[in-house]
Symmetry: D2
Subunit: 290 residues, 4 copies
């Protein structure tokens, strides 16, 4: 029999992920700070919990998918927080994007409850979340992670085991550093080409005909061309991740000259008011300097 | 009947390109500053010219594929240079990587000879050069470029028309800016991940399972892992291109913060003595800072 | 009658500062984690407290001058910490370099004790600390700051009032951002000049004859020339400050492209093992890339 | 008896410099592309030459102070250019800011005329030019430079001998790299401080009370505060110098991460339309990103 799943955080990502858990036949209870976002899932058969505590009491496996440490902390230790209902018979999976250092602290703070803790952030944005094709970057005790693979694979096409708790988050930092750099590089090259009089379609042909061709550029080119950036991955979330990346690199003593440029550009974009647009709106920062 | 082709410059790229012209049945005459590099092509049936002038006299279409403006200038206007033999019945195609500004100057300097001038740098490195799967970025009068497509397609899988003479070089700057940024970003992310304790294979799995997956990373990952960098595209050539990119961006007033970082990192790698290794040796620069 | 002063933290800076308080006739009690550093002051007439708590009980005005938030936290809330002895009749002055955000948190955490809280980091390094010529950047309630001016002026030549608690730290971030950028710029220019064949003395003559001449460059040039960097301000402390600066800029949405470069260069220097040398050892980072 | 001096280039700098030569009693002939700029000097007793050639024929020592290589080239080898009248009995002093590589080329191009060539760019802007307090950075044969010291000291307070021809320009690159970095750093720190709520006067007090105090900041602070930037040193000229610096660093293999940032920021400022304002208008670039 399938365990009962509690899903906290029904934003751009969480809504699709929770729906896929439900579709796969898991009993589901959901919680969101703004309760109206739970309605569609309720119509599909999910229970709606009145508080994180109630959710954690009702569920065997509790998943959190929120925007960062503050939101996560509030779900766990805020008023009627989930932490009070965690115990050794339950599993807590954090899928939110946070830093490895924070994840390790979280693991220590949760240790007294005895809950099994897995950190499992995801690679992929809105569409893969809806289609259940995320890549799930899992950290934690190997057997514990393995036991949750069937559940995780309702949300993703692949689970990559990354090491102990914290290493899932580290992998997320790794892949998002690369994502951010590729995105910013694409925007910079396109802006440079346009100022140099190149035709848009000829530029894309050149990129898509060779070894630089990739899904990211296929997805983002139309947004940049249309100068319209509906958020698959909001620029402000990428900015927060860029800050976690720099914090992590600082601790590690890892040189991240590109990461510094990344945070500078994305933070500028957010300061200009473009935080709720897609990460591809980084193109606007370059245009703003032209 | 096929026109006779003269090919000057038999380096990493030129050797494979000239061989493909020959294989396609074009009569071929070659010239290289170090004549021993012409021997393999001679064995396959190519004539070897004693000088650029002799080559240009013998050929209908003259192609140059050398390391930059100095080498090109010397072939054209050096002792027994090709320029003296160019005339309105001939076509000159520069496939070397140079700046758009230099290409426009070159077009003006060649104008008095009446030769048809095409600038046609390529996207792709050693392997596509050998396999005839380069992407050819062609600038010049549209009908002139079209007339040469059959010849160009012996070396490449695709010809992308980029506009008037100079715009082929501009497209090359565009694609190499993106290439350089993607390469440096990959090296930085991998170094960051390793310092953070991630497993190499798990990192590649994560990259290759999602929208960042691309031919470039498939090709370069094994070199970085093995810390062995046989040159498909030498780091010093990328560095020269990065300088042309910055020169071009300066003229255009195009913001290229990533381009600046690129030149800084690659020039450092060259100064450290790694210029003759592959561009993926940029990983060494990051390691050197760790 | 002069209030009794408690001074915690007898490092490079604190030793000189505490000595000046004593010389000015204030009764002094000191505490340092490694007690041997208190011996010279004891010989000059200072009491030595056995714990931060004991110090805070004995003193009217408690000063902390340590390396960062962790050390400060431990003095205040660690075993036998000072916080337990603070009350509305006492004044607590933090002179350590921390971020404005941390200072505001600290003010809130201390509020329940009723102690008067002043944040008063300093501009200046070892020599001005010894000579009592620091510039003191004071934040807090204006009348409270004014009341402490006589004491503060035993350590410094000037007190600059910066606003409410936290703004002293903000001013410290401001001046250290400028300091770090000037230092790194000097090192970069000198390295560039040397590689370009310029004579060391001619370079200094040029700098010292014009509007770029300043005390900083007068002090640091001999260290860089001698390639010997005894710490007046250790590189690792500057690095920590650079991190606080970026953290602060991130919150403010302030663009700090130079600040990013600063952290990258100094963190690299620390990772290379030069953290305990003077900030002017940033010259080594540039040389390491040449 | 004093030699007759020919002065070409009567811009912001040249006007003051030529006036000081005249005031010191040297017979003076001037030339400027826009002849109306010569009128004030004519009223003070200078001859006005109809062409660079006429000036060079009339003068013993020919000085050029123009905006860069193109202008210089045109004066020397353009229609009725000065080069045709140079000979071994004359001295040619280039005081314009150009790259060391260009200066070495220039020396070679002038060699056939037999003229004594000195490269002598200056450190200092409008006011020192008017007051005759520039610092003159002289390259060339040591005895030739020494022979011109009396003349050079009419324009400057000091002559610093930098080595053979080209090294004056190299020293200019060195000092302008430092100038640009100090200027950009000051603008960044002030913008950061303001966004952090610091009072303008308190910030300046902090800078001016310690080892970062310098003439540059004394001069530029009022402009940044007033947001009004009358050009003492136009931003576009600093931008050109920054490009020469990067070109020179590229040849030398010198790491100039700050130099890269410099060119990025200043070129952006120029692209935004602020090229004719003072270099301190770099503050606008930072504000534009806030």
């Amino acid at each position: 029999m399938k365990p009962k799943v509690g899903f906290m955080g029904l934003g751009i990502m969480g809504t699709g992920m929770a729906a896929n858990v439900l579709k796969a036949g898991y009993p589901l209870v959901v919680y969101n700070r703004s309760p109206e976002r739970a309605a569609p899932l309720a119509r599909q058969g999910a229970e709606v919990a009145a508080s994180p505590r109630a959710l954690a009491q009702a569920a065997d496996v509790i998943i959190a998918m929120v925007t960062g440490p503050e939101a996560l902390h509030s779900l766990l230790w805020g008023p009627r927080g989930a932490a009070g209902a965690l115990n050794p018979s339950k599993v807590f999976i954090n899928m939110s994007s946070v830093s490895p250092a924070y994840t390790r602290e979280l693991a220590q703070e949760l240790a007294p409850t005895g809950v099994a803790f897995i950190d499992a952030p995801v690679s992929g944005t809105k569409k893969p979340a809806e289609e259940g094709t995320l890549v799930i970057l899992a950290g934690g005790q190997a057997d514990r992670v393995q036991a949750q693979e069937p559940l995780l694979l309702t949300m993703g096409k692949k689970v990559i085991y990354c090491g102990e708790a914290g290493q899932g988050s580290m992998m997320k930092m790794f892949i998002n550093l690369l994502l951010g750099l590729m995105m910013a590089g694409f925007a910079e090259a396109l802006n440079f080409g346009q100022l140099g009089g190149l035709d848009w379609q000829a530029m894309l042909d050149t990129v898509f005909s060779g070894p630089l061709n990739c899904g990211l550029y296929q997805m983002k080119a139309p947004l940049i061309q249309a100068k319209d950036y509906p958020p698959a991955f909001p620029l402000k979330h990428m900015t927060k991740d860029a800050k976690f990346i720099l914090d992590t690199a600082y601790e590690l003593g890892a040189p991240v000259p590109g990461g510094h440029l990344l945070l500078h550009l994305y933070r500028t974009g957010w300061a200009q008011g473009w935080g709720d647009q897609d990460i591809s709106a980084i193109a606007r920062v370059l245009e703003h300097l032209s």
